[in-house]
């Protein structure tokens, strides 16, 4: 397992390097600099600002010094928030976004797996159609629509939940988590239905049935493990996507997360911040894909024993 993980991490190095290089070129060739504003910026001020952030140096020199800093773990100062550096901004947003992502994932897995498993038990009956139709709606319901809908119903009309905020009022995490998780829940429902249908048609399910086990045991003990492997494979990319895609939800609910930083940085041409968040997200994507692969291995006893030797 260790060797496997190490190999994948080594592969990540060139990937990250290319990501940094391409992003660097992208952001520096995008129109509008970090200091352009609707009120004209006097030439001398612009020069002074660019000098402060080394933007007056040739591009390759900026690139090399940026790379040097990143290798040492320093992602540089933010252009938009003078006095803050990218590292601390990412860290401040990360914990929130990670927490939001975690809850959303819980919602997604919980609802998704239940719906998918329920549907798979009686394919092509109402027990299948109802949750799967709901899943279809969930996949297609954009969060910019679901979020406000939830807010209007539960926040404003019923007054059960706070309409915004994070860690301020109890219960303020519920609606964001549901809003963010629903699309993934729907996807997981489809995946787990497919996986379960596949497994339920396996010979060993018939064996279990012939042994006289109850249907509940058959589902929970024999089928679930194999049936959820597609879900596990989806979790890694999904979690990374969740972190990246949390922007809309963070905006709707005023959550101080990384997604907002990222989008604000792009709009503000906060070069270092864009680069920092991109590198960070790329790392996350690689890490979570790795984790989900490792989980898939761990779930499969055959693969698990093969890799146990050296971990």
């Amino acid at each position: 397992m260790f060797k496997f993980a190490l190999g994948r991490l080594l592969q990540a190095i060139p990937v990250l390097l290319v990501v940094i290089t391409m992003t660097f070129m992208l952001v520096h060739s995008a129109p509008g600099g970090p200091f352009s504003a609707d009120k004209a910026v006097p030439e001398e001020v612009l020069k002074a600002l660019e000098a402060q952030y080394n933007l007056d140096q040739p591009l390759w020199q900026q690139y090399l010094s940026y790379l040097g800093d990143v290798v040492q773990g320093d992602m540089g100062p933010s252009f938009k928030y003078p006095g803050r550096n990218v590292n601390e901004l990412i860290m401040s947003g990360l914990s929130t976004t990670a927490e939001l992502g975690f809850y959303a994932m819980l919602v997604a897995i919980f609802i998704g797996v239940i719906a998918g498993v329920t549907a798979s038990m009686r394919p092509n009956t109402m027990q299948d159609y109802v949750p799967m139709t709901a899943a279809m709606i969930g996949i297609c319901m954009p969060s910019f629509l679901l979020g406000p809908l939830l807010v209007l119903v539960f926040g404003i009309h019923l007054e059960w939940l706070p309409v915004s905020g994070w860690n301020e009022i109890p219960g303020d995490k519920i609606m964001p988590a549901i809003t963010l998780g629903t699309g993934y829940a729907a996807y997981i429902a489809r995946l787990s239905r497919g996986g379960m249908l596949e497994v339920l048609s396996q010979d060993y399910i018939r064996t279990a049935r012939a042994k006289g086990l109850s249907e509940f045991l058959i589902i929970s003990k024999h089928a679930l493990r194999g049936g959820l492997i597609p879900v596990v494979a989806f979790l890694g990319p999904a979690f990374a996507g969740l972190l990246g895609g949390s922007f809309v939800v963070e905006t709707i609910f005023q959550i101080p997360g990384l997604g907002r930083f990222y989008v604000q940085a792009a709009f503000n041409r906060d070069y270092t911040m864009i680069l920092g968040t991109t590198v960070f997200f790329a790392t996350l994507i690689i890490l979570f894909n790795l984790l989900s692969d490792m989980l898939a291995i761990w779930l499969n006893p055959k693969l698990r024993q093969q890799v146990r030797g050296d971990s």
Binding site: V15, M22, T23, A282
Partner: protein, 293 residues
């Protein structure tokens, strides 16, 4: 029980599509989906002739009126007829949905198939490239595209295709990795067929099932992505509109003028369900291994 205990022998040979059509015809949901989709397409095609009003025709005095005999689906804040705007929006959304998805499909399937079939180091490099593209800041990328190439609908297709093909490539690759170990691929290899012919004739057609399902999921997300890109300035410009944009605007006023959200939402949902039913039906129908029962 083993499936080969029930074998139904068909008397006359049928082509893949004929065969699929026969099976599809028996799937009521898929037929409904197909019918719905066709009628939406026909309406879109005929919109310039059958739309009750002009899509840009404003009447500020008639702003945001609820559905009435005059305006069946009400009017937006400029007094433009919603039915007309949804019809015109459908033209854009359906076109973007289908064409951009087709672009993503073409690139994703070929890329995924090549990576999965060749495998080894080539696969690793190709998949790392996908990782890289996944990681790049999409918004900056779009803004750059816009600036470098100007704006037009073609670019919109390109931008959307550029994002959506990545997942498609991953799915196809996974499929191909398992397909290439199948005996019929080995048989093709032993016939001395070139790799490209094997990929094209033996591998890609057999990935149809998951590809169709993913495609039906992609089309709606493409339509919503189009709205986001149009928002950023890439893609269509007012007074033209699309379902995605209409929904976007509708969300802002969903308390005041709910019909501005509901009707475009219904149009998009109908398309989605139609696509989904048709997609599931097609997947089953196009799989020659499922008997025609």
């Amino acid at each position: 029980m083993s499936t080969n205990e029930i074998t139904v022998t068909a008397e006359k040979g049928t082509s893949l599509w004929e065969d699929a059509w026969i099976k599809l015809r028996k799937n009521r949901l898929a037929l409904i989906g197909l019918g719905l989709l066709l009628s939406l397409c026909v309406i879109s095609l005929l919109t310039p002739w059958i739309a009750p009003y002009g899509y840009e025709e404003q009447n500020l005095l008639m702003g945001a009126t609820p559905p009435s005999a005059e305006h069946w689906l009400g009017t937006d804040i400029f007094g433009r007829d919603m039915l007309t705007r949804i019809m015109w929006g459908g033209r854009v959304s359906l076109m973007v949905g289908f064409i951009a998805t087709a672009v993503a499909l073409a690139i994703g399937v070929i890329y995924g198939a090549v990576a999965g079939y060749i495998g080894g180091r080539v696969d690793m490099v190709m998949m790392r490239l996908v990782d890289i593209l996944y990681a790049l800041p999409f918004m900056i990328f779009i803004i750059l595209l816009m600036v470098v190439f100007g704006r037009n609908l073609l670019l919109l297709f390109f931008a959307i295709g550029a994002v959506e093909w990545l997942t498609m490539a991953r799915i196809v690759r996974g499929q191909v990795m398992s397909l290439r170990k199948q005996e019929f691929v080995e048989a093709a290899h032993s016939l001395g067929l070139s790799q490209w012919i094997i990929i094209r004739r033996h591998i890609i057609p057999n990935t149809l099932g998951p590809v169709i399902v993913y495609t039906t999921l992609t089309i709606p997300s493409v339509m919503l992505l189009e709205a986001f890109l149009s928002f950023l300035g890439l893609g269509i410009q007012p007074p033209q509109s699309s379902w995605g944009l209409l929904i976007n605007y509708g969300v802002e006023t969903m308390e005041e003028y709910p019909w501005l959200l509901i009707f475009p939402g219904v149009a998009l949902s109908l398309t989605l369900f139609a696509l989904n039913f048709l997609g599931d039906g097609l997947r089953d129908a196009l799989d020659p291994r499922t008997s025609k029962d």
